[in-house]
Symmetry: C2
Subunit: 300 residues, 2 copies
DNA sequence: TCTATATCATACCTGTTGGGTATTCATATG
DNA sequence: CATATGAATACCCAACAGGTATGATATAGA
């Protein structure tokens, strides 16, 4: 059986007439006769009763007509679906993240993406940076989010945005950090750094900035993650320097002060395979570009 | 698009390899390549990523594979359905009845039919005899049940069974009708006849039998239907002679006595169009023959 | 580095088949 | 009985599916 025969069947059933069906199909009448006949022979079932005025479906033909219509509509629907999938509008986006961006920015990005591509499922996993690179290379994930990714020749690293820095201090301390006093305070302060692993990392960046500013920080602790660092800050182990977006969340026991003097020092990157041409990746990049980057900026 | 291409797509997806897919399809490899390529061109979507080891579905290809499987299974299912419809196992049986058979025998027949052909819907209507003949001629119904149908050249009348007769008398009468006294009783009795319309009919048959037995019955009333007749009997308007199957039901106010002396005088017939070759009619007749007729008896 | 191998793609041929035209057959209608 | 309508048939051609042979490419192994 071929779809051609179902098309002809539907046309003849609708027109109740082989000749008019042929006209509608833009072919001549004999091929219609032949294909219907072939279909009937294959099924071993008479589908039409030929009358003087044309052709009338038999009971079995009526059953088959319903199914044929269903099949054709399924065919059309699935063509649309493939095309949607090809445009990146259908499928599953495999996404990974690591570190502090997960707190505020990655949720924002995925919210925007879900809005742009509502039929794409998002499969999100927390994966360390080096592991992300491996997963991207073998095609397990389309895109990873994080900061300070190590370089890899197969991986393209794109900057989504840069943030300033803020400093978290214990809430119970009665201090106010601003342009005219921060340097003095920092020189005698103790700091909690994060993360410990995944060099290069945010801790390296913070240290390098402090050094640049002539501060040789006293290190109270180095934690695995930002949450641990802020807990230690709350109990007085030392100040923590964080990306400023972190300050927008409600942390108990700490308060934040922006550090505009440190500049927009903290990038948020996404990474993906240079050779990945999948529509889902294209969709992800399109969505990110439209919402987080100025036109024409930052693309490969 | 043609089903052939879906078959090849599924084979290649399953084997992840064009050559092995060709083997499975019992054709050579190049046609597979060509059909897949043609499909991809028609959709404007790459379905497979060709690798060194074979072929891997793209994301869009995966979407399409699922749909293709669904389409193929729908195709197979609908072939089965057409064949079932052709065997008369699927569809709607349009059936009509008229008169007393509706009380007991027609329900029995339809019960048996529903049991034999559980997927056939039964559309049952009460239609007068002449109207049944018209409806059968134009194909509105497949089969009609009744007694004493008028002859029609296009209609085949088949006898399903014959019944004896019984007489209904008022419950309050303290009489017992049997072989040795019925004639004497009937000669002085009054009778209620039914039905009034649709000649030839059961009333004609009853009169002819009574006459044959030398009884010139006194007619108390002629009713439209059996139910009215039995109500009149209950109130003493006269005896009613009925097909004996009627006696099996619980009627209030009357009691029945079999009349074996009258013979198996009351046929139940079904009628259908002589030229009707529809599988549903065939199914109906098969069912009836198997359950109500001795092998080889009564068929055209 | 140079095969050997496994894969898909291409070129070309052939036979099948789908579609076209002309005609016939069947049947109803005036 | 002529005519009209519609399906079926006969025959032709062109398109296309499938076959064989070969090419292109990339990987693995010597």
């Amino acid at each position: 059986m071929e779809l051609r025969q179902l098309r002809y069947l539907i046309a003849v059933a609708e027109e109740e007439n082989f000749g008019r069906a042929a006209l509608k199909l833009n072919i001549s009448q004999p091929p219609v006769t032949r294909q219907i006949k072939k279909l009937e022979e294959e099924l071993g079932v008479q589908l039409f009763k030929r009358t003087q005025k044309g052709a009338a479906l038999t009971a079995a033909g009526g059953v088959f007509l319903g199914d044929a219509r269903q099949i054709m509509s399924l065919v059309h629907r699935s063509v649309e679906r493939v095309e949607a999938a090809h445009r990146g509008e259908l499928g599953t986006a495999e996404v990974a993240y690591f570190g502090s961006p997960s707190l505020k920015i990655v949720p924002e990005i995925l919210q925007v993406f879900k809005n742009d591509y509502p039929d794409v499922e998002i499969n999100l996993r927390r994966i360390p940076k080096r592991e992300q690179i491996r997963a991207i290379k073998v095609g397990e994930i389309h895109m990873g989010f994080g900061r300070y990714f190590p370089h890899d020749p197969d991986i393209y690293t794109e900057e989504i945005l840069t943030e300033g820095l803020a400093v978290a201090v214990p809430k119970y301390l009665d201090i106010d950090i601003h342009a005219s006093n921060w340097k003095k305070i920092f020189k005698s302060a103790s700091f909690v750094l994060f993360p410990a692993a995944g060099r290069p990392n945010f801790a390296d960046e913070v240290l390098s900035i402090l050094n640049r500013e002539g501060i040789d920080p006293q290190i109270g602790n180095v934690t695995e993650d930002i949450h641990s660092a802020l807990i230690l800050t709350a109990v007085g182990e030392g100040f923590t320097i964080t990306p400023s977006s972190v300050a927008d969340l409600n942390w108990s026991g700490v308060k934040f002060f922006e550090l505009p003097e440190f500049g927009m020092a903290c990038p948020l990157n996404c990474i993906f395979r240079k050779s990945d041409t999948s529509p889902i990746l294209r969709a992800l990049r399109t969505s990110i570009r439209r919402h987080f980057q100025k036109p024409g900026e930052g693309m490969k």
